[in-house]
Symmetry: C2
Subunit: 156 residues, 2 copies
DNA sequence: AAACCTTTTTAGCGTCGGCTAACTTTTGTA
DNA sequence: TACAAAAGTTAGCCGACGCTAAAAAGGTTT
């Protein structure tokens, strides 16, 4: 039939050429590299804003990992220039860290609200947004923003 | 203005309780554990279907990694019961592997077509789908399927 | 001040998934 | 048949990120 829902251009029958395929997976790997860092930075920013300070204990509790894991990550974030910290003291974001936290938070909010305006329930939207957040390109984020704006007039 | 896009109920002002927050991150970590395995199994399934066989060279080229990396992963997939393989021979999927490949492929297709029907260009949709695929819950997949079905009548 | 508890840090283990280098097997060709 | 190229395997390095256990620093209570 020529009137099938799958048009030739949108059918997923054939594999992309190997190089393009490889680039897709490389993009995913790249995203994974920065993903955890962004999650930590975003969480630290949230804690600073909501609790006034970001302590390792709270980060550990919210990330669901041990404090030792957090300590090592904080050291890494410091080396990368995202946070400043002195031994046995709270953690603060550098300018770069603050920028990343804001970026992440915005992206997170766009995805979360998009999912909700699609009709996904809140709990599911929160979980999915957390995972999807780092894999959504700027272009797709724009589309999501538009969609949410036009489908959310009555409030979501 | 009181008619801002952010309604109080959908605003993301406060952090979730720590335990819930931790569960969200745990879900992401869990997804990461199986993600790469699913990607390999899905790719092997695609190669079997499209090329008739799945060879380590082709897997490496398409994943964008070295053959040594593929070899170790194949051994792992074998131990996990997803593939069968004999030394220096092509790779085949077990029943479990085939089931996972089909699942992954379906999920991948749903996300990809959803993005396209949203209006995301093909190249972007492909990249984003690859990353998002593993972080989309069944519930959200259902919503995406519905959306694509109702917004894709003219083809796209 | 001493004792105690919490918080943070450090040391060290294990797994995973990239990599290179070197080797073996298969395959294709002279 | 012999040799070269391609494909597959193995060994071992490295960084990341979980973990436990134990030490060090900070804060509180007596």
């Amino acid at each position: 039939m020529t009137s099938e829902p799958d048009t030739p251009s949108s059918a997923d029958d054939s594999l992309p050429p190997p190089e393009q395929h490889a680039r897709q997976y490389a993009a995913v790997r790249d995203a994974h590299e920065t993903e955890l860092i962004e999650d930590y930075v975003e969480l630290i920013g949230d804690l600073l804003d909501h609790a006034g300070e970001a302590r390792a204990t709270d980060i550990a509790a919210r990330m669901g990992v041990r404090q030792a894991t957090v300590a090592r990550m904080i050291r890494r974030l410091n080396e990368l220039g995202f946070v400043t910290n002195e031994p046995y003291r709270a953690i603060f974001l550098t300018e770069r860290g603050r920028a990343m936290a804001n970026e992440s938070r915005k992206r997170h909010a766009v995805v979360l609200q998009f999912l909700r305006s699609l009709g996904v329930d809140d709990a599911t939207a929160r979980i999915d947004a957390e995972g999807m957040e780092h894999h959504v390109s700027e272009k797709t984020l724009d589309v999501m923003r538009d969609f949410t704006a036009t489908h959310n007039k009555g409030g979501g």
